[in-house]
Each structure stands twice: as structure tokens, then as C-alpha cells.
Symmetry: C2
Subunit: 388 residues, 2 copies
């Protein structure tokens, strides 16, 4: 591949499944395990949107994770929202250990509504769960003429600078905003360099992790993917923050941004933080009790929206038109790869890996959802069930 | 040095000057060149605060830069603020090409005031100039029970991922918040890995830049510090975003955060962006016309402030107490090094490099500020005057 090229496809073998089928299946699975229909539709939309944007790590491939968590009572299928504080510009909600997606969609909409009245709004949510791609919620704001910012904490993965222990979540700090391009500018990104899912894929296809992604207990870069996965579970390896190991390339900056997201998510909401977000305590599954935050800035309150979109578009065209590195074909702007993935996948659907295929068939069988025929040629293998 | 150790001292030879003298000198220089006394005090406080925190790159060593810009008419000593838009939660100001420090202090205070009423507030400022350390303004919010976020764009330095051309400013995205520690948590950081000032120092002391800090026109890591400085001026070398060269260590994430700061600073305010922020056009000095943004979140509107401080403090203690890498002595939290520098420097003052000593003497002589006797043993060398 040339510099800057990227693939819309997973690194593993896959089978196409159209988005309509995927969305229906996600929704039906959720309904079958107790998620109210309106919420189930939201979960399905968030997951399928992820695959449409080429982010397979956070899309329908996560179905088994939610399914397992609900089945074992770790999170509730129903999402009863309590408003703890409400002000013109801010609010604090409690998600009642329900589904992260519907509460997050509602919270971002509430932040947008506050922004439309006052210029800026923020809603924080506590006692919640994994909410899918953070970009989904920031993009809601962008679609309504706002700058959307959101983040969440997550299972401990990142070691602070000069530590070797997984402490912070991959803690995305995600931003989206409208421009005059064909798609919103959208930085949907974790504050770690990479994520466990990527290393799982590398382990399955026999690829080495890139030095700098993971720090081992000796403070060195670990690259053996299967070994990393084992060691991470034992807290003997950790993801690195953006900026990498040590301070030479300013790893402390990524560590600080990850910490900021952890504070915004957990400390404003009295949710779990750091290693308490493991979902396991004394050998038992317990609620994750995660926190999220959602900020919307109404552009029109500051400057004419069309003027902003045009100026921002011009700026982005200058970035995309900057002098390229030799061998580089294209300078991307945030959200462009996801938009290209969407165009490429339209009419085709999502590439479903063999791992995910097995999980779909298992769930389908357990719930008796016989109306689906994916045509997968795999055997159900319950060993694929994720422990988390 | 052990892993995680850091030095409070510059890498170069220096002479101590006490903070009181420095603050008076900064103020008197500003007043002599037309800055109103109240504003001059603010500029002096921002600059000296930087040195007190150990951030010599943005402190009194920048005096010549402001002095030169005002003298050649590139920026005005007076700061006439125009309020273009004002809403309960947001506002847009124009700084009239005046001093960045006083307008920024007032803008952050306005954001805090809005937050105290509504929960969250944001003020954006356009048509402005270099404002010193971004942390100063975020710390104002922390001191008033708020989470403070601020940023600014700056001269083009960072190349976007897969480009080799300096396009984006070092664009700090800075956050501060109160905790129960002895100092506020404060991530006062650029979205580049490093900054030109660091490479200037390395050039003077004959040190090589760390590979990954700078990309040359061939797309490779440049390390020869004097050569980098020349090439950066010719746009043949650029700083890298946090995450480094290419995508292996997620350089696009730093590039995206830098872009976000550029958009927030320039596109909401119709200020200059990217290479228009050079301060030079057609061989003539022109205003920088920078933009800044200031966000304050009133913690008390969301959760009891003392509870937040305690929870956050507990979380930070867990981070600081995480398992250390072999050879590492200490895991720092954001703002801790600056606090330690402050303790170390209290009663001593700031270490003034020979380069800065020459500049002080030149300015002193030109303005006839004979009441100062720094005791520097250097000759005035006008070649030290920065071109920017």
C-alpha cells in the first residue's frame, strides 16, 4: 500500500451481510433479551452506523458483548434515566445501569437543545455502559449545526507515563462539526494509540503489533500479539497513550488527555474509574458503572453557520492540498475515511468476520430467531464467547 | 537521569533573576511601549507565571518577541475589545489586534461568569495575538471551581499526516481543574510533540533532536537541530503532530486535535488560519490575527465541588501509585512538574539564559530603563532579535 492508503476491509476472512438484515437482527436480538423496541432501534442504529463508517471494531461485531453482559445480569436491558441535576447549560443524568446507546443519544440531544437556547450545553451521564462509537453522538450535534464533543471512560487499558500497569480506559475524546464538504469533519478517536480489538485481529492473522502500541511489565515495547492479549488480562502489559512509551515523543500528553476524559466521565458523575471499570470484582461479574459526557456548541450563536462551514471547508481544503510526503497519495481530513468506507460499502453491507459469524449463529440459535439465514459456513463455537 | 526525572533548569547557561524584578521589568517595558498599566500588569503576570511554573519557553524569554512586534506595528499595545455576539452561554469577541494576554484573561473570566450562571460558558476571541501559556487561563477557571479548557492557533508549524509542509500551529489544547491535591490538575500542552523553541535550545547546546519530532521534505525524521531551524523557515521541515510521523503510532490523532483547535480558534472567529498566521505577507510584517477559545464548566452545577475534588484526587492518587516501569521513580500527574518547579524556584527566581540576557539589555537600553541592574555579563548583540 502507498503511504496514506487504507483498506475498507478487515484483515481477516469475511462474508458480506447487507445493512438492512444486520440492523433488523441487532434490533430483534435486543428486543428478545428485554430491550424496549425504541431503545433496541437506537442500539441497532448505533452499531450498524459503525460498520457503515468502516469501524468494524465497534459495530455489529460487538453484539455478543452486549448480549453476554445482559444475559449474565451485568447490565440491564431497560434504561431508566434519572435527572440528578439540571441547569440551563448543564445536566447530570444517571442511566440506571441500562443500555449506553439510548441514554447517550438522549443526552447528546439534551446538550444540543441546551446549546440551541444558550449557545453551549453539556450533559454528563453516570452509572452507564458501553455506548458504541463515540462519533455517533458527536455527529448528531454536527447534523444540527453544532460542534459536538463527547467522551467516555472504559475498561482499564492504558498505562500512565512511566507506569506499566493498565489503569485508564482507551477513553475516546471525539469531535464532529459541519463543513461545506460532503461529510462532517469527525475525529472519532481513542486517546490510546490503538485498542485491544486491533491486537486480537493481529493475533488471529499472525501479525506482530507495531512497537510502541503496547508496553510490557519491563517497560519495553511488546509486539507478540497473542502474548500481549494474555498479558493484558493479567495486567502484565498495557496499551500506551497517544505519544507512546515514555516522554521522548510526549506520551504524557496522551496520558493527560486520557485522564481528562476519565475525570469528565467518572468524577463528574460519581461513576467507577480506572481499575474499578473491569466489570469483575472478587471473581464475580459486576456492573461497569461507566460515565460519559456530551458537549454541544451552537455555531449560529457565535457566527453565521454557512459562513463557518465555508471557512472551515476552505481550511480543510488547504490541509488536504498541502505538499505530500514522497510516496503519499492523499492527505485525509478527519471523517473522510469513514465517508469513503460508507460509499464503498453502500449496497454491499458489512464484512462479517468468521469470529463474528459464529457469535451471530450462537445468539440466533439461543434466541430462536429462525427467520434469519445468513448463509454463513461456520460451526458454532461457544469458545468464541468473550469473557468480558 | 532516571526515567521520569526532570530538570527544573534550562539546558543552557543561565543567571538567576528574582521574580519581583522580572515582573516589574516586564510591566515597565510594556508601559514604555504603550501598553496601558492595567494590561501591562496582566502581561507581566502571565509571563512571570510561566517561569514560576518552569515553562521558560513561554515566559519572560518571550519579551523580545512582543517588544519587536509592537515596535514594528504588527500588533497594537492597546487592546480594544469589541463584543460581536453575546448569549447566555457563548460570546464572540474581537481583540482589535491588541495584546493577547489581557483580552484572554477577560475572556476566560467572562466564560467563568457565564458558567456560574448557566453551568457552562464559552468565549471565543478573534483578531488577537500570542497570549503566553494557555495554562494561565485554564488555571483561572480551576481556581474558581471550574473545569477550564482553552486553546489558540499559532504560526504554521505542524505538517498534517502524510504531508511534509508546516500548516497547523502547535495549537495547545489545555485543561485545568481543581482537586484535593496541593495544586490543580493542569494539562498545559501543545498538540505537536515539541516546539520550535526546544529545537532552538538544542541547536545552541549542540544536541540532536529526537527522531520523530520533525519531518523533513522527504518524509523522514530530521534530527540535525540547526539544519531543522533553517529548513523550517523555508517550509522544508515541519513539526509532527502528537503521535508522530505517519499513522503507525496514530499521528493522525494529534493532527486531528491540532485541526480542532485551529477550527475553534480561527473559524468561529473569522481569524487567520494555517499559513496565513505567519505574520509576514509579500515580505512585509502583517498582523497575526490569531483566534483563541475559552471554556469554563462550573463543577458545582453538576456535583458538589468538594466531592468532585476528593474523587478526582483519589483517582489521581491511584494513577500516581500505579506499578512503575523498572528504573522509573515517579509517576507524575498533569501540573505536578510545574508545581515542583514553582517550589524549587520560590525565592530564587527564573534562570535567564544568555540569549535572553542580551535581549533584556538591548530593550533596557533602547527604552532607557536605567533603574534595572541585572548584573548580566553579556554584550548586547542585536543579531539575537527574533525576526518573528
Amino acid at each position: 500500500m502507498k503511504k496514506g492508503d487504507f483498506s475498507f476491509m478487515p484483515d481477516e476472512e469475511y462474508t458480506w451481510v447487507d445493512f438492512e438484515t444486520l440492523e433488523k437482527f441487532m434490533r430483534d436480538v435486543m428486543i428478545k433479551i428485554g430491550v424496549p423496541e425504541e431503545d433496541a432501534k437506537i442500539v441497532a442504529d448505533v452499531l450498524v452506523t459503525s460498520d457503515k463508517r468502516g469501524i468494524d471494531s465497534h459495530g455489529v461485531g460487538r453484539l455478543m458483548m452486549y448480549y453476554a453482559r445482559i444475559k449474565r445480569g451485568q447490565q440491564l436491558p431497560t434504561t431508566n434515566i434519572t435527572i440528578i441535576k439540571d441547569n440551563p447549560g448543564t445536566a447530570r443524568w444517571d442511566a440506571g445501569n441500562g443500555m449506553g446507546h439510548p441514554v447517550s443519544k438522549k443526552a447528546m440531544q439534551a446538550a444540543i437543545d441546551k446549546a440551541k437556547k444558550n449557545g453551549i450545553g453539556m450533559v454528563v451521564v453516570g452509572n452507564s455502559n458501553h455506548f458504541g462509537i463515540a462519533g455517533y453522538y458527536s455527529l448528531m450535534a454536527a447534523a444540527q449545526g453544532c460542534i459536538g464533543i463527547c467522551g467516555t471512560n472504559a475498561r482499564p487499558s492504558i498505562a500512565p507515563t512511566w507506569s506499566v500497569e493498565p489503569m485508564l480506559g482507551t477513553n475516546p475524546l471525539t469531535i464532529a462539526l459541519p463543513t461545506d464538504w460532503d461529510f462532517p469533519w469527525c475525529a472519532d478517536q481513542a486517546t490510546s494509540i490503538t485498542q485491544r480489538g486491533k491486537i486480537e485481529t493481529y493475533a488471529r492473522i499472525g501479525k506482530e503489533a507495531i512497537p510502541g502500541w503496547v508496553i510490557d511489565e519491563h517497560g519495553n515495547a511488546a509486539t507478540d500479539a497473542p502474548d500481549i492479549l494474555d498479558k493484558m488480562l493479567e495486567f502484565k502489559a498495557a496499551l500506551t497513550p497517544l505519544g507512546g512509551i515514555g516522554e521522548d515523543l510526549a506520551g504524557y500528553k496522551g496520558y493527560n488527555y486520557a485522564t481528562f476524559v476519565e475525570i469528565m466521565s467518572a468524577c463528574l458523575t460519581q461513576s467507577n474509574f480506572l481499575q474499578a471499570c473491569l466489570g469483575v470484582k472478587d471473581g464475580k461479574f459486576v456492573p461497569y458503572n461507566l460515565g460519559h459526557f456530551f458537549i454541544a456548541i451552537d455555531i449560529e450563536s457565535i457566527i453565521d453557520l454557512e459562513e463557518f462551514k465555508k471557512t472551515t471547508g476552505t481550511m480543510l481544503r488547504q490541509l488536504a492540498g498541502a505538499k505530500k510526503a514522497p510516496g503519499a497519495d492523499h492527505i485525509y481530513i478527519a471523517g473522510e475515511k469513514e465517508w469513503l468506507a460508507g460509499k464503498e460499502r453502500a449496497g454491499k453491507g458489512a464484512p462479517i468476520s468468521k469470529e463474528t459469524q459464529k457469535q451471530f449463529l450462537q445468539i440466533q440459535q439461543e434466541l430462536g430467531l429462525d427467520q434469519y439465514d445468513f448463509g454463513f459456513e461456520v460451526e458454532i463455537d461457544k469458545s468464541a464467547t468473550p469473557g468480558w
